[in-house]
Amino acid sequence: MSFVVIKLVSQRIALGLLLLLAATVLIFIGTQILPGDVAQSILGQSATPEALANLRRDLGLNEPALNRYFSWLGNALQGDLGTALTNGKDIAESISGRLQNTLFLAACAAVVSIPLAIFLGLLAVRYRNRWPDKMISAITLATISVPEFILGYIVMYFVAVKLQWLPSVAIVRPDMSVFDRFEAVAMPVIVLTFVVLAHMMRMTRAAILNVMESAYIETAELKGLSAFRIIASHAMPNAISPIVNVVMLNLAYLVVGVVVVEVVFVYPGMGQYLVDHVSKRDVPVVQATGLIFAAVYILLNTTADIIAILANPRLRHPK
């Protein structure tokens, strides 16, 4: 590992942390300018002014915003995300189970979709502008174009209703075995795979085709190598950074953007939890989930940057 790489990677990590800090500021400001009054919404229209004032004091809403920000940030850093206003439960506790569910679903979808997308991308390059390429593009573009809730119901109709292979909802409970969990998330995973496949596959195809124009691909052809070896062994390693970038964006989507799919399959993940509490104007919960989503986004994109740095032989092995 060279000095340059260590320097660049540490820069990326530092930048990621800085970005996260900026995100906390944005989240905090954003939740402050939400219309309405938390105390009012908790106590309802009929609350007396005294009761409202008492509650505001108890919630610390009379403190200056800057103080509230720092105490929130300090607590969050120690793992204390506060208590939900609506039900008084500890947020960290209620989130952890749902976050696990969301990550489990995202991981399952990623394990299926990423290798599939890259393999289809390679296949599309191998048979470019011939029928396998066109078919792969047509199918993946069709599945990305259909809204995911419709995709969800279509999958549900065939898998759960017609074939009756799986139950139509994807409820998971803490006491379920791993195998039962896999069975439960199977349908959401199918839908999510359809949603993210096209993006990653098209990028893999484009990035590799770009590399296929290079002179060293001709060298490989003139060595008498097989078409697939040229693509996988000579083109792919040079196309990693754009592919990883798109893969990470889609991974981030799998974690933070699956609320619609969760609702369709009644899956107890983060998305549903967030939407529930936004509608109840439960500010600490919104802040906490926002913070987690921002952290996931920044973590994944920083990882993509670091992989791109590590994949560059010029940086890894300087002169």
Binding site: A215, Y216, T219, E221, L222, G224, N238, P313, R314, H317
Partner: protein, 544 residues
Amino acid sequence: MSELLRVRDLKIGAHVIPPDGDPFDIEIVHGVSFDLKKGQVLGLIGESGAGKSTIGLSALAYGRGGVEITGGEVFINGSDILKDSLGNLRKLRGHVVTYVSQSAAASFNPAKKLMTQVTESCIQHNLCSQSEAEERAVTLFRKLGLPEPETIGDRYPHQVSGGQLQRVMTAMALCPQPDLVVFDEPTTALDVTTQIDVLAAIKEAIRDTGVGALYITHDLAVVAQVSDQIMVLQNGNTVEYGDTEQIINRPAEAYTQALVSIRSAEHAEKLPTDAPVLKVDGISARYPGTKFDVLDDVSLELRPGQTLAIVGESGSGKSTLARTITGLLPQRSGEITFDGRGLTQTLAERSKEDLRELQMIYQMADVAMNPRQTIAMIIGRPLEFYFGLRGSERDKRVRELMDEIELGPEFLSRYPAELSGGQKQRVCIARALAAKPKLIICDEVTSALDPLVADGILKLLLNLQKIEGVSYLFITHDLATVKSIADTIAVMHRGKVVRYGPKSQVLSPPFDDYTDLLLSSVPEMKSGWLEDVIAHRKMESAGN
């Protein structure tokens, strides 16, 4: 000796898809025939568009881009490879016939170690085990004179120099012990002093391994050193085909004679006249963010109506000097005096008059012009900008300029893409002349052109100098070009001027070490030159 390669009536076509308009087919090689025996070297020579690379690749039954072999026969060891299936061709490519390309830097996969790439053919064709292939590679690295032959294979392509990479590519081609190697301009992209080493290494490797070779180049002097026979090509036709000795000494065809005599053009040097038009005094410069002087105390003078040639290899600082004079890279110290007045360091502070009187012509004519403007617009622009000429006045001046660069008025409505390389460079010259400059900086203006075309450009420049009295600062790496255009020469090496004076003086002994190396590295049009130079250098280094 047995027949290795027999090519009969080879015809090659290309499917052209123009950006606007219908695709069409053209023929680029019109029936070429030749033979090659085992252990022999055939040189294919011609200008760009002669079809020499295309013919070379046909020995691997390979067509680059939309190129396709449309007729004829290519026999390798007695069997016609044009009739082979793709599977059989894969067995041939990289095993029986291998290829060395012009740009090794682009032809190596940047993400893989050199050793992996050198041994890949052996492994993929199941010729030997990995360890055996690596042994072969190390032996070849040593034979080709690469430094640290045991460990150089662990490096990545960007970690070795261009000349070394070209040698590694030769090792890659020889590793599977092929019967035939196609060398496609293997030394063209290298500096002369590097070229000579690579050339000697390739020649020795060919001799020691007994491999047959097709050697493709546009430089007759280079091919004369390595080949047994030479085939001269022009526009896809054979012009002349014979033994190297005969082609060099007794060329039969007029075209071959022109190629042979091209390097003999000499230009009589002018004597120093009045006050210099450009005076560079003690210039030092470095690029922002670096701690290294690219120019180190450079002092030069250029007289009106004369040519100062800056000679040097890549990295010598010759183009940086042009950037400093034009104000693109401000100097750290030193003075630049132009036509008696001091030039400001930066471009932004210069007057319009300074800009007008100092023009530039570049190596790549096609990227120096707006592809969406016609020739009339390109040449007319400086007339509007500097002199405010409009309408018929401007058109009249544009036509005069077209006359001067010997292009007819029919070119005025064309776009740069419709012109040949030489014609494009002429338009760039006209654009520079339109400003009525006192000084034109010519940065490698003939390097991208074929020898005969380059010759025409040099003659045009000399002629224009006579008429307009303009001075040239002529930057080049090619000493032959220098001989035919310069009055004064400055040899640059690592940012310093190592030799400076009138042409006759600079090019006569006694030489300093670097100028001597540079001059003796320029290939000469006679067989045995390479051996003489190498033997001479060995003797000298033994003497020291």
